[in-house]
Structures are given as C-alpha cells and as structure tokens.
Symmetry: C2
C-alpha cells in the first residue's frame, strides 16, 4: 500500500521553510534572490538524492520525475512554485511542490509500477518578481518577445534576474514544451481566502481560475476655488469617482457574485485643500471565472463610468492595463479530485480561484485541475500566512489518491 | 464735485497689469519675486509723484495717505494687495489697491478738505507665497513667532523671501499698529465666483468672510488580496472614503447652504491594482460665514466620518490642519456701501465671501467692510481672470461715494 509519510513530509516542509525564513515567521524568497537560488539547489538535491530524474528547462523550470518502466509512457505533471512574494509566507506555492515531491517519494518507496511518468515541476517566478507566471507561460508557449520587452519591472531587471538564474530571454522563449505526451496537470495550493475555513470544509476543488481585467480610469472635471465656487456649479472629478466606487461595489455584489471589483489606487489633481479636484485617476480591476460574465461585468461597469461622468459633468478616459482570460479546469479531473477527497474521508466543495496560478497557463494546453486546502484566517502574502499540519497532510493524501486513481485508469 | 477719472484709472490698471504680465494675459507676481518688487516700486512712485504721504511698515505693508488738514484726524483705511498667486490674473487684489489710489488722486485733485486721513494700503503677501495674509495679520497683531516658525513653505523660504523685501521675522512681528486712531477699513475685490454675474447685479456687499476648517482624515481598514478576499468580508478604506464624500456632499448641499465642503486630495495605500486599499488619507475642508453654523457643520461631518468608519469596518483619525474663524463685517459699513451703490444707480446684494481676504484680519480690530464686482465666468487664480472696465469703474465710483458719505458724517 502506498502512503504519505507524515514525518518525512512535514520535515520537507520545515526544510524548505528555513530557506529565506524571516524573523516574523514568514519567507522572503523572490525569484533570483540568494535564497531563491538556495531553494532551487535544495529541490535539485532532494530529487537527486531520491534517485529521481532531474532536469531544468530554458525558463528555469525544475522537474523531478519518477519514471514509468514503460519508455513510451506519457507524463502526468504536478506543479507549483518555490518562489515567494517579498516578505511572504511559508505555504504559497511551496506546499504544492513539496506535496508533489512527497508523492514521488511515497510512490518510489512502494515500488509501484505506474503506467505514466510523474513529473513534479517547480515553475519559475509564479509571483512575478521578474514576470508573473514566467515559467509556466514559457513552457506552454504563451510568452512573446513583446511580453518580455514590456515587463512591469523593466527589461533591465528581467535580464539581470535571468542572468542570475543562468538564463536569457532567448532561452526562456525557446523553452516551449511539446504537450502531446502530457496526460494532464494537477496542482494543490493554499486557498488564500476564508471560504473553506468558514464552511468548515477540508478541500476546495477549483472549477476555474478567474479572468482579470484592469484599467486606468481618468475622470476630468474643472479645478475651482473650493470656497467661491458654489457646490451646485462644480465639476468635481472626485464626486464622480467616489459615486462610481459605490455604484460599482453595489453592482458587482448584487449582480455578479462571486465576481469581485477593486479600486486599488486613487489620486486627485491638483491635490490641495482649497481647490476642487480637476482630475482623478484610479486603478480599476475586476475578476470573474466565467468569460461571458466577465464581459457582462465590463459592460455594466463601463456604463456606470459613463453615467457618473455625465451626472457630475466630467469626461472619462479608460485605458486598458492588462487582461487575463479565465481558465477552465478539466471536468473529469475535477471529478477525480472529488473522488480522491472522498476516498480520504474529507469534505469538499467546488469553488473558483480568484487568484492567478500556474494552472491557468497549463489549462491552455493540457487537462488541468487545482485544489485548495484552508488558509488560517485567509491570510496570505504575509508572514502570518498559515495552514495546519493536518490540512497540509490532507493536501498530500488527496494528491496521492488522485495519482493512484489515474494509474488505475 | 469729486469724480473718478476713467482714463487715469484704467491707465493705472493697465500699468500695474504690465508688471509681471504673462503671455496668456495673466500676471505672475508672487511675493518677493522680481516683479512683485517692481510693482512695489511702481506703487511707491505713484504715491510720491502725486504728493501723497508714503510709508512702509516692518511687515512690508505700503501706505499712500491723503492727509486731512486736521493733524488730530483719525484715519480711514482702504486696502488690498498687489501680489498674485503664481500664474494668476490681473484683478485679484490689484483692483482694490488701484481703486484706492484713484480715489486718493480724485480727492486730492478736487481739493476737498476731509475730516479724516485716507490711507491706501498694499498689504504684503495676501496670497501666501510666504504666509497667507502676512501683512494684514502682522499689522493687526495676529501673528505669533510660532506662526512664522510653522509656515507651510518652511521657515527658510520665509526668511529668504523676507530678506528680499528688506524685512525680517523680527520686523514683521514688531509691525503691530495702534488702531485707536483708525476709523474703519474698506476693501473692494473681484468676486471670484458667479453669483453677481448670474443674478446680473453690479455690486455684492460682503456681510461676512467665511470661517475655514481643514483636516487630514485617515481611514484605516485591512489590506487584502483583491481576488481571493470576498467582497462582503473586506475592510476597504476606499469604500468608507468614497461613501463619506457622497454623504458629506449631500449633507452640506441639503442642510448647510451656502456653506461648502471640499475633499481636495486623496491617497490610497498600498496602492496596487490587486490589493484592497488598507488606508486612505484625504484633505477635508469646509467653510461657512456663521460661527455657530460652522460648528454645526463640523459636528455633522464628524458624525458622517464615524458612521462610515463603522459601516465599512474601519478606524478613523481626524487631524486638524488649520482653523480660520469667520469674520463679520460692520453692519453700519455694509449699509454705507449699499447707500453708495444706490447713489451710483447700481444694483446690489448682500453676500458672504467664501475666500479669505485681508479684511478678515482688519475686522478683528476696526469696523470693516468689503464689496465685490463681478468676475467674468467666475474665473480666478487663472490668467483668464477678467472683469469688465465698466465693473472696474463701478468699483472706484462706489468706493469714492462711500468715502464722501463718511466725510459728510
């Protein structure tokens, strides 16, 4: 019988957590930092010590593979990432890679003969220190030279970061993989939200990863003396902006649940106590897992922008700042994870992922699924990010059951 | 008969407008700039060429006086300012000084014997390049060393500016005048608003200058992932801020007309597309001419701040950023200006000044009144600031009639 070794697994989690550990109990392991280079060497050492096949591709993606005895076998991918946001937590990404490694160790130890290779991938820079989802986008052929020329942190920082990893933009762009030999992709991650904890459930099976649309929105009215200009005669850009924020909130909460909208940044010009704001610039972002609903949200939100511009005598400009389409998970793999959870006597529910993950790259080229385990208080991207040892074990147990169910065909 | 000389008066207006003129037709004459020093010499030259008594006090206030034959006579003050905001207009302040000068020239020419001295004052730095109302506050004993140590632009800029004017903080603080020999204070100014133009009236007689209260307001909620944190669970500081802006607008427009409220500046932290705003800082300012109503506005607005903090799960901090009490004009002088306007066959109304003026310093120590003439389209602090030659003439005619009525006792 194949089983997870709790001691070994939790020791692997502790070992990775020590690399880049911060005094507050978190992790500081942004891509290409000294500690991120150290955790890469640690992962390679673990794979090689265990006698797994180990490779790194031109995008820096590290693969540890338990080979099937059948040389013509296809490959099942399990993945996540070992990089972290600056001053982040010990579980975001790392849990998925360590679960994959423990599953390989358990399978290898059992001497079971699998009809497919099982490959655990540590994807490069999921968090976007250089460019978000860099490794998974490169592997799945979704990166263009233009993408790399326009990264948020600047092309120079990207070049320097890649050089520290022994890579180049050329090697990254050449890292496209042939997925015809890939069976599918499985990923486990912490939820980074409160839905499982609130519902007291063990496992959240992801049916889709939300699409994200972001815009810079500018309202322009007229600057005026904040004393002498009567309120009824003002073209106050902040009146339009503030009413839009309220309208958008009500619209999304009422009509587009579980979609979300955020105004993350706001700035008023000229910005003095005694001058009516002439111009307000805001960062608008909204998310939904269903492509048609995401489009409907955009139509509704843009209508509110225009209504508020008209109501307050303003002009409006909407500039796109990025667009990520929703990624649908594979229904057979969603059902597989539900069965695996049931096998382990764990409660489960279906939900949408409201954060981006490497699975959204993989879903374009191979059947893919993700599942979540609870985050304590929903806290993430924070040193206080935490998941109980029991929930970490559930992650590993369900992943192992899913692989064994696939092997049983 | 004493009359305004239209040609001389409009030529004086043109002459002052040429000093610091901008290509757009405006004026750039901030206190202690080269052009502001030039307009001071111009004013002194005009006074001396006309045989008027000329003096400058320790705060740089320039006085041109037509002396009464009675050496024991008291003094009637007429004043305004020749400095401008950066890239401002040709009328804000300068009209009042030039009207005063023309009134003195007309009175002198007529050889009328007045029972009081008439002194026209160009007050230093009404606009606040160094410190708002510097000259009038100094003359009326309303400046403390602490005020001068905490000026908005910094004490070094104040020292440097005063040095260019041949002054020092010591000389400014020593410029307090004895007002027991002063009869009262008259000031004419452009309206900087649209009330007269809209009502098609010639003269606005100011009954009071609004008090202004300003605050830095901080709402603090909790940063969160803008995807994974459900909207119902967010403590979004910008939700509280935006709803407060709408509530405050409705409250003041409904309950406190003609009072005004402005949120001139807003900033959200951490300020990223994908992070729910943890903190929002806003500049809040409100104005009313009646002290009790201003207090009631504050109570109402602070209640809205607390209500919105509670509604959105935020904490709030309110820091005072300045407090100017309302200044009441003298009722007998208000009536005097109304009679003078009627003498000139001009229509008039009573109104409040929503901007600060030197008269609010003078009102503390001597009976004071202001009156307004229309601003075209209400535009001010802008190169497009304009007032018709007819309205400028009305300003001079009403001022002259007011002085003559006072002389007639």
């Amino acid at each position: 019988m194949v089983v997870i070794n709790p001691l070994r697994f939790l020791e692997l989690m502790a070992a990775q957590s020590a690399i880049g550990a911060t005094p507050e109990g978190g992790l500081n392991r942004p891509t290409s930092s000294d500690d991120e280079l150290r955790v890469r060497r640690w992962f390679a050492d673990q794979a090689q010590q265990a006698g797994l096949d180990f490779r790194t591709d031109g995008a820096g993606n590290q693969s540890a593979t338990l080979l099937s005895p059948d040389p013509a076998a296809k490959t099942l991918l399990i993945g996540s990432h070992l990089d972290s946001v600056p001053n982040g937590g010990r579980f975001d990404g790392a849990l998925g890679v360590v679960v994959g490694l423990e599953v390989l160790l358990a399978l290898k130890e059992s001497r079971i003969l699998l009809p497919f290779h099982v490959e655990v991938v540590n994807f490069t820079d999921e968090e976007g220190t250089l460019r978000g989802l860099l490794g998974s986008a490169a592997m799945t052929g979704r990166l263009t030279p233009a993408d790399l020329a326009t990264v948020r942190g600047g092309a120079d920082a990207l070049q320097a970061g890649l050089a520290r990893l022994g890579l180049s933009t050329e090697s990254v762009l050449a890292a496209v993989r042939d997925f015809s030999s890939v069976l599918g992709y499985l990923e486990v991650h912490i939820e980074q939200g409160t839905r499982l904890e609130r519902a007291n459930l063990n496992i959240g099976v992801v049916t889709g990863i939300v699409g994200v649309r972001s815009y810079w929105l500018t309202f322009t009215g007229q600057a005026a003396h904040a004393g002498t200009m009567p309120m009824a005669d003002r073209h106050d850009a902040l009146w339009g902006a503030s009413n839009l924020i309220q309208d958008a909130r009500a619209c999304v909460m009422h009509d587009f649940q579980p979609g979300v909208v955020n105004f993350g940044s706001i700035h008023a010009e000229p910005g003095a106590f005694n001058i009516v704001p002439a111009q307000v610039r805001m960062a608008l972002e909204f998310r939904h897992g269903d492509a048609a609903t995401l489009e409907a949200m955009q139509i509704a939100l843009f209508a509110l922008i225009h209504q508020n511009a008209e109501k307050y005598g303003l002009s409006s400009i909407i500039d796109s700042a990025g667009l990520v389409p929703p990624a649908l998970m594979s229904e057979p793999l969603v059902a597989l994870i539900e069965q695996a959870a049931a096998d382990c006597d764990l409660t489960h529910t279906r939900l949408m992922s409201f954060a981006g993950h490497d699975a959204q790259s993989l879903a374009n080229v191979t059947p893919s699924v993700m599942f979540f385990v609870p985050s304590i208080n929903g806290i993430s991207h924070n040193p206080a990010e935490d998941t109980s040892p029991e929930d970490c074990m559930h992650a590993a147990e369900v992943m192992l059951r899913a692989v064994l169910r696939l092997a049983d065909g």
